[in-house]
């Protein structure tokens, strides 16, 4: 998000999901789309069935990669050289959209200068992708009338995540593949309402609707609306809370529906910091690993027990309606927060989620026209929706970027924080699978979902299996500088030699004991996708 905010001015999908169906070329990077966003994958495949070309950039041969016309199996962490290589090919072969660059962008010369200094053979060698393949991908993408780029956590979960995103934006602007229908840059969000949470300011530096905390005008608006003094400086990010932030002593935390004890990197550090808190409260559906450390646990209600809205990747705000009564002894997060607030001396007395939505509409301009009665029928609305008459916005940056002109922000290769060496010779990537969700709090309680994917598996290339004498199905010891787990090996050609892959859904094999705390400084996103590990026999 931070990446697109600086290049385009706004950090969400530029297109709507259904526009992907009508693209001619779809470039997918760092997204295991059929497993993580199956509905978006559906649109991609429908487009392919209609003749669209699919390019997949992913170190692994994911199911989507098997259906792609071009699969660029790059070395993890080399997205910038790969994209720079594509852009260099595009410029060299006169495939750039000069008119668009001239009219709609700024700072092009900085990008052009950087690319001029780079050598294509070297770039290809860095990425491990054949130069011919890079060329093909570049030509295919550049020549299309309508091309979309979809990316996900394979792009952002790196120390250079923001730079990766900016480079993607550069590629789109270079070829004029943005600002039009069925064309653009589409980050796919990692959770069903993370977009909504960000929209509402669940970020340390902004109030709802991305109004900066350190902007006196915005701050005053909220102070007046809420009748309290608000901090003038941004707060600390999630990883700062669980890993510690220099100069900050965190005394207490209230964690709602998140399980950092399994999902944050460097789990030992997380545990230490959570245990050092004076007070920890957790609201969740089940007693998760994090809840087990809490002083107070609030049993929270599920999605089926409450009414409200979710906002998805394409900025669409949709109603979620209560279907069953709130279970005994449980309360909705809203009810818990309001009661806590009251006891802490600040009355919050909303009679209904619809009333809360009215306040959102009042204070968050991009939600200016979002009211429950408008959202009740149909399929919701996409922000920005400025007022009651506004129908919502299917695609962003039509005719102009949110920030005026799109800005090229060139970047060179930034190496991952930790790469394989003699002691830890393999590269570990982490991700998700279809049947489990995050730390399995909900999914592992479903008998059928559990059966489909009952245990953690470490994907290992046959060459490495031979090298380390590992048989298929054998339990091995996987270690990094930070921790060790035992996990069952799955020998497959889907990962390249030198790299291994596993998921973070299983508490019995808590992979985040091994992952690294290094993060993208601008976005705060940890580098889950790269760290160095070794395999030993058990």
């Amino acid at each position: 998000m931070a990446g697109l905010a600086t290049t385009f001015g706004s950090g969400a999908m530029t297109n709507s999901i259904n526009e992907i169906e009508r693209a001619e070329v779809i470039l997918v990077s760092g997204s295991n789309t059929t497993e993580a966003h199956p509905q978006i994958a559906r649109r991609m495949l429908d487009a392919v069935d209609r003749g669209a070309k699919l390019i997949v950039i992913d170190p692994r041969r994911t199911p989507l990669a098997t259906m792609a016309h071009l699969h660029l199996a790059l070395r993890p962490g080399t997205d910038i050289p790969l994209l720079n290589g594509m852009m260099k090919v595009i410029i060299d072969e006169n495939l750039a959209d000069d008119l668009f660059i001239e009219m709609r962008t700024e700072n092009y010369h900085a990008l052009r200068d950087l690319l001029n200094r780079l050598d294509l053979e070297e770039l290809a060698a860095t990425t491990g992708v054949g130069l011919n393949l890079i060329r093909q991908a570049a030509q295919l993408y550049a020549r299309a009338q309508k091309a979309v780029i979809c990316y996900c956590l394979g792009i952002t979960q790196h120390v250079c995540g923001t730079d990766n995103v900016q480079t993607i934006a550069n590629l789109a602007m270079l070829t004029g593949h943005v600002e039009k229908e069925n064309t653009g840059v589409d980050p796919l969000r990692g959770q069903n309402n993370v977009q909504g949470a960000c929209d509402m300011g669940a970020l340390p530096n902004v109030f709802p609707s991305y109004q900066q905390v350190d902007n006196p005008e915005y701050r005053e608006k909220f102070e007046q609306a809420w009748g309290v003094k608000l901090p003038a400086k941004p707060g600390i990010r999630l990883v700062g809370m669980t890993h510690g932030e220099p100069g900050v002593t965190l005394r207490g935390m209230y964690i709602m529906g998140e399980n950092p004890m399994l999902s944050d990197p460097v789990l030992e550090l997380v545990q230490e910091n959570l245990k050092n808190l004076e007070f920890l409260a957790v609201a969740d559906l089940f007693l998760t690993e994090t809840a087990q450390l809490a002083d107070v646990v609030f049993p929270a209600a599920t999605f089926a027990e409450k009414t409200g809205t979710f906002t998805n990747s394409e900025r669409r705000v949709q109603m979620v309606r209560q279907a069953i009564p709130v279970q005994p002894d449980c309360r909705t997060d809203g009810a818990i927060i309001m009661e806590l607030s009251r006891r802490l001396g600040y009355e919050m007395a909303y009679d209904s989620p619809a009333e809360i939505m009215e306040e959102i509409a009042l204070l968050a301009p991009i939600y200016g026209g979002m009211h429950h009665d408008r959202l009740e029928t149909g399929w919701g609305m996409q922000w920005p929706c400025w007022d009651r008459q506004h129908p919502g916005t299917p695609f962003l940056h039509k005719y102009y970027f949110t920030r005026g002109k799109g800005r090229f922000i060139p970047a060179g290769h930034i190496s991952p924080a930790e790469v394989p060496d003699d002691e830890y010779p393999l590269l570990l990537m982490t991700g998700r699978i279809y049947h489990q969700y995050h730390t399995g709090t909900m999914t592992r309680r479903s008998h059928t979902l559990h059966r489909e994917n009952p245990e953690a598996l470490l994907q290992l290339n046959p060459a490495d299996a031979d090298r380390f004498l590992v048989r298929n199905g054998e339990t091995v010891r996987l270690a990094s500088r930070r921790g060790t787990i035992e996990v069952k090996a799955e020998i497959t050609e889907a990962v390249a030699a030198g790299a291994v892959y596993t998921t973070f859904h299983f508490p019995e094999a808590p992979i985040n004991l091994l992952t690294i705390g290094a993060k993208d400084e601008k976005a705060g996103c940890p580098e889950y996708k790269v760290c160095a590990v070794r395999i030993d026999k058990v």
């Binding site: 059929t34 559906r42 495949l45 008998h447 059928t448 059966r451 298929n472 199905g473």
Partner: protein, 346 residues
Amino acid sequence: MADQYLLKKDHLKPFIRKLAKDYRIVAPLLNEHGDTMFNPVADLDREEVDLDNQPQNSIKQFFFPQTEAICEYSCAEPGRYEFREAELRTDPTIFFGVRPCDLSAVLYLDVIFLRDAKDPFYLRRREVSILIGLNCNRPFENCFCNATKNGPHQEFGFDLQLTDLGDRFLVEVGRARGEELVNRWHQFFVPATASDSQTQYQALLEARGSFPRQIHVDQAIKRLREGEADPQIWQFLSQRCQDCGGCAYVCPTCTCFTISDHPASATAGTRLRSWDACTFSGFTRMAGGHNPVRRDSAAIRQRFLHKLLYDVEKHGRPSCVGCGRCVGICFGGTDIVRFINLVGQE
């Protein structure tokens, strides 16, 4: 020989009210979100019986619930391990407004659960059920019961069947239980005339002629009987199948299930039977990891061959009843109609 009566539309609700005195009524009900679903009627005056829209569910779940306890077990000490039948509550039920697709489906379920080994749970529920069918005057968006040859009008298997003739229903008596109901509540019924029968026949012709497109089920079956379908079709569909199991859940004739133990404590638990789908990997995966079915190339092969070939060979007709629910729900675009069309194009 079916007797035929007329029931005025004005008298429908009063008739149902009378039925409700002796039976649980399950009928299509329209809820406040605009969804029509078969559900037990709790309050006839507060709930809306909807005979205009296709219910999103079939009545399968009332004979074969999504989850049910098949037995309880206790293992208090290592030397003791006992099983007890689970309690099965059955309410005599009238299923009202069951369209030909769903009614044919029950006849198929009867074969699966009762013909060879009698399934005690299904039998108990079926024994106390009465089926009042409702012929269709027009197909819904995804219907193709004409192609599966079990609609839009049903010829047998019902206890009573209604056909909407405008201001009145033609009521056909199928089986003895239907006759009993008509006799018990005779005040609502007058004999139908030949002209009414004729009107019903006209309605059938009109319904038959209203299908928006023809689905070539016969051709697909013929092709499958000739030999293995092109593996590329299996692969194409298997890659796009999103492994959600939705088709098996909404399908009125899917009967695959799994059995699992659910401990209640260290010394006792319940053994449950629950719906399953042959499209899931875990459906066939063996202990040790071997799987005779490769998901990426054959995930949906058993599903379609079962419905369109194996059941034809075993029972004489496909088990797909053309209700179109899988077409409506499939997120991957890999429903049975897509398959039939692909096989037809070969």
